[in-house]
């Protein structure tokens, strides 16, 4: 029974940390975007706007909860929760330092990919349950996009798996002790670039944000949500984003490796994950939205064959080196 209690406590700590980090990531993004556009960003609430996320949360807590009259009530109310759960669960397998994590499964990365793919269920529940044509169109586009981008995303995430010869996330991290996979000649850089592109698509960020294209669909699948339910959807989305950033830092940037004593490991990991997050945000605020058909064409005609080729090339390299995994 103590194992169960330990797991419960560990889960509670990680969940609280995740909610804290995710809340402040919104501020980081707003500040970063503001600087890119020669603005200051949130500045009024607290020193340098540091209390802004808390003010936002309080505002959303006190807002009226509106349910559309013709909505599918049960589906509509459950959707934010179903959307949030995968966003939180993906943190379960991430080791934040050697031996420090909730569950270091031997199929860690597969669990991550499987659970993060479940997010779409909550998304189309929201889109359908709202009984709003914009929300429905948005959910449709999301389904389209997920079907197209899941495969290249999985293939690029498998490149580090092949190089490390293990599906366990902590093994992948320790395999990079000598050389971070992003510095692996040719394969590493290509895989990292493909990972960033597919991450943008998986998180529905500009230039792949057709599902919440403000000019056509108002706010996409969350258009009918208000108050705390809206906050839950936002939380789920940002949690997913932060989780994928952690995955990127773990797969390509050596996770907790860094100078200084070992206890600095989680700090390095967090900094690297934030680096990946800022890279994605940088792309988001620099590019324009591309059309639906272009998005699908990029995935099926370019990314999928290329990521498959990359995966086969990686397998060939691993076999020729007859390194780990053989």
């Amino acid at each position: 029974m103590t194992d169960a209690v330990d797991a419960f406590v560990a889960g509670f700590i990680v969940l609280s940390a995740v909610v804290g980090v995710v809340t402040y990531v919104t501020l980081l993004e707003r500040k970063f975007a503001a600087r890119m556009q020669s603005r200051i960003g949130p500045y009024r609430v607290g020193p340098h706007g540091l209390l802004q996320p808390i003010a936002d949360a309080l505002k959303l807590l006190m807002k009226e909860d509106i349910v559309p009259r013709l909505a599918d009530r049960v589906v509509y109310n459950l959707a934010p929760i179903v959307f949030l759960i995968p966003g939180m669960l993906i943190f379960a397998t991430i080791p934040f330092a050697p031996g420090l994590g909730v569950a270091d499964l031997n199929i860690g990365i597969l669990f991550f990919l499987a659970v993060s793919a479940m997010e779409i269920v909550g998304l189309f529940m929201a889109g359908w349950g709202s009984n709003n044509k914009y929300a429905l169109l948005s959910a449709m586009r999301a389904v389209n996009q997920i079907i197209s981008y899941d495969l290249p995303f999985i293939f690029t995430a498998l490149v580090p798996v092949l190089l490390a010869g293990s599906l366990r996330l902590s093994d992948i991290a320790t395999a990079q002790a000598g050389l971070w996979f992003v510095f692996y000649p040719v394969i590493g850089q290509l895989a990292f670039a493909a990972f960033i592109i597919t991450t943008l698509a998986a998180e529905n960020r500009v230039p792949f944000d057709i599902l919440e294209a403000e000019s056509e669909l108002v706010a996409g699948f969350r258009v009918e949500y208000s108050g705390m339910k809206f906050a839950l959807i936002q939380l789920g989305e940002y949690a997913h984003m932060v989780g994928t950033s952690f995955l990127g830092a773990l797969l390509f940037l050596g996770a907790w490796a860094g100078p200084g004593p070992a206890w600095l490991g989680p700090v390095w990991f967090l900094l690297k994950a934030m680096g990946v997050f800022l890279l994605v945000t940088w792309v988001r605020w620099s590019f324009v939205r591309i059309r639906v058909d272009q998005i699908l064409a990029i995935s099926w005609k370019l990314l999928l064959p290329l990521s498959l080729l990359l995966l086969m090339a990686t397998a060939l390299v691993v076999v020729l080196r007859s390194g780990p995994g053989v």
Partner: protein, 164 residues
Amino acid sequence: MTLEPLAFWALSALLVGSALAVVLTKNLFHSVLYLALALTGTAGIFLALEAEFLAAVQLLLYAGGVVTIVVFAIVVTERLVGERITQTSRQIVSGVVVAGGVLIGVLTFIARAPLPATRPPLVADVTQAIGQLLFSRFVLPFELLAVLFLAALLGATYFARPDE
């Protein structure tokens, strides 16, 4: 180990309940959501039996993939074309008879087989074992499956081609 039977029975109840709901709900969209719940429950049972690889694949392919495609089909036909589809179960009596027959068959089979009271512990890495078996003993079925999928892919492309 004390939590395992509890998890099993809870997941089984969830699985049977949601599976019944899939066939008994009138609303087609709700039926798909129950299907997603049932598939997730199955993954949970795999997880409780330490078959983590199977659980992850179950989530990735069925709950993530198949359900998504079914939803896609429903949304395209019902909301965008505007035709309302409700699920009708006219064959409910014969369905119950067949399902009951299968249940009795399975139960008698289980009752005859001597089952160990406790599950033997897993010794090797299941994921590794699956990978090695797929590329040694079961390589022929594996490759045949690939050919089958290729044929399906080509067929889908043929039907989806633009009219000349």
